[in-house]
Amino acid sequence: MAIATDAGSVPGAPIADAQRVFVASQWQLMWWRFRKHRLAVASGIVVAGFYLVVLGADFLAYSDPLASEAQRSLMPPQPIRWFHDGRLRPHVYGFKGARDPLTFKRVYQPDPGQKIPVRFFAQGFEYRFLGLIPTSRHLVGVDPGRDASVTLFLLGTDVQGRDLWSRLMYGTRISLTIGLLGVGLSLVLGVVLGGFSGFYGGAIDTVIQRVIEILRSIPTIPLWMGLAAALPRDWSILQVYFAITIIISLLGWTELARVIRGRFLALREEDFVVSARLVGCSQMRTIFVHMVPSFMSHIIAAATLALPAMIISETALSFLGLGLRPPAISWGVLLQQAQNVQTVAISPWLMIPAIPVIVAVMAFNFLGDGLRDAADPYGR
């Protein structure tokens, strides 16, 4: 590793701790550099928040995301009213709903006389937290004796009367985990193929490069469609889910492979690699013990940047009807159900799931940018 010649050339390092810079580890330097990119730090917090939702989806939801009720169809979001008689007593109003005979819209009248207190960390349906601990506590709920699933609708309901908030929580879980799996797969493919390409060069390199070029030249949508349409239709939702991640990552690895190949090519001629070979390290050892750690940070950055592409691919595929299908819930499924004129015109709250998509994609992008900037703390 190249050592900085003066403290001032490492951005973000406190000048007074010039000595610290010399003994600081690579990771510490990266952290200092990363910290400077405020947006990236904020994004990191947002991303962490998302994954907390993934873990605690059951905790955050308060309704069965699949329970339908026609009399609650297309309810607008129910605002929580925080004060009652001057004191802090969060509650929501009860409601009465009917279909307007003239406009055919479902109209809901909030009933101020019916105040339903909202409790935090309340009892609700039972579930297993993290799949292990049986509990029935939820973030939001109502008094015992009442049922949150018929009284609380923080983000409104969809056509079938299902609570949007709860569906969004579960949808977040699936969308973000698909992303992880997909990226993981792309990573493996990218590192292996890009690595071979860069390290060995020659014929292997040419072949892999050509394959990458061919894959990148094919318009992705037909490829997805063809592959997705070939999936046996009697596969369960879970199997389709995995197949979709595999399909998406089959195309996503090309970018990673290119980056990694570039890195390998650059590093091949470095002194430390040559000396490792000279000393007698096997190729495997050279690659994995010496070379890979030096661009681990690049890999992390590239992976983080690949995630938003996964999320967007999933929404696109679901829109085409090729991705996840109901009863599975994901951001793509939720958006697909909002993709119609009557939603835009009359029930726009059903488009709310677009917000977490936008936020997640942007957060991942900024985080990835920050990581990439920090990936080489000695460089520019």
Binding site: E213, I214, S217, P222, P308, T315, A354, M362, F366
Partner: protein, 329 residues
């Protein structure tokens, strides 16, 4: 130089062939064929097609033969300039695609131009005022384009266009000029309809270009010659624009090759939502009904466009920057 071009061209031809095989395979992947799709369509409209009729149709369309035979026939036809017959549209594929292909290109180019118009200034500003509030804000806006699900955005814009501006729903032409022969009026009509599709399509690519512009310019701005220029007293704008920006533009050339197909591919969904007469909706439909020749031809054409684009941009890059040529094995 010539050897390099020659090598790349040869490789391009090979790539095109590989794409043709892949496209054909993809089309054939879903179970069933055009006839089964057709029968299902008839059934859903109450018309009944018997087993024998179906068999007849299969023989007539040559669907019963093994896949490599069908592929070979297709290749032979293409060599003769005949791209096959679309079973759904009952017309030669070339007629069905007709105008749509180059309309697709027009929309894609418009989106590309819009991307550059947005990305360049934002990228330059970002690089010059790194880590400032303006930098963050500008990047933020640029990235929103990437993040917003464009099909939803398309539908929302379509609806807003109608409610707020009484705009005609979708399409690239007003109904009167839809089938009219080309004229100045028609061209102007097209231009009037382009902004919304170009905007939706271009937004996604903007983020990428901003990043690249920013990164490249940052690299350039740190170079010694910039310090020299400043110390010699050149005004700041001139310092930035005269050399660094032009240097930073180089990689843009290389991105044309990949941005164009990216936009074309992305335009498939948006075209569907907006009802544009481009290749996208046609392709989707053909894939679903397994209209083999139509789908295969479109995918092949899109692939060829990509390869040509890549080839051109590679050559461009080599011509500009000789170091690449030397690095390439």
């Amino acid at each position: 130089m010539l050897a390099y071009i020659g090598r790349r061209a040869l490789l391009a031809v090979f790539t095109v062939w590989a794409i043709s095989v892949l496209s054909f395979v993809i089309i054939q992947l879903p179970p069933g064929d055009y006839v089964s799709s057709y029968i299902a369509q008839m059934a859903s409209m109450g018309s009944v097609v018997s087993d024998e009729e179906a068999q007849n149709l299969r023989i007539q369309y040559g669907l019963g033969q093994p896949i490599y035979v069908q592929y070979w026939k297709w290749m032979k036809q293409i060599a003769e300039g005949n791209f096959g017959f679309s079973m759904e549209w009952r017309r030669p594929v070339t007629e069905v695609i007709g105008e749509r292909l180059w309309l697709t290109v027009v929309v894609a180019v418009a989106a590309l131009l819009l991307t550059w118009v947005l990305a360049l200034p934002i990228g330059i500003y970002s690089a010059v005022r790194q880590y400032s509030l303006g930098d963050y804000l500008a990047t933020f806006i640029g990235f929103i384009g990437l993040a917003v699900p464009n099909f939803l955005l398309a539908l929302v814009l379509l609806y807003l266009g109608f409610t707020l501006f009484d705009a005609h729903i979708g399409g690239l032409f007003s109904p009167e000029l839809q089938d009219a022969p080309w004229s100045l009026a028609r061209a102007w009509d097209l231009c009037k309809h382009l902004p919304i599709p170009a905007l939706i399509l271009g937004l996604a690519g903007t983020a990428q270009q901003i990043r690249i512009m920013r990164a490249n310019l940052l690299d350039e701005l740190r170079r010694p010659y910039v310090v020299t220029a400043r110390s010699k007293g050149l005004s700041e704008p001139r310092v930035i624009v005269k050399y660094p920006v032009r240097m930073a533009l180089n990689p843009f050339a290389s991105t044309i090759g990949y941005t164009l197909p990216f936009i074309v591919s992305g335009s498939i969904i948006v075209s569907l939502v907006l009802g544009l007469p481009t290749v996208g909706p046609l392709l989707l439909r053909a894939l679903i009904s397994q209209d083999m020749f139509l789908a295969g031809t479109i995918v092949l054409l899109l692939g060829v466009m990509t390869v040509i684009g890549t080839l051109i941009s590679d050559i461009l890059l080599v011509w500009i920057d000789p170091r690449i040529r030397l690095e390439d094995t």
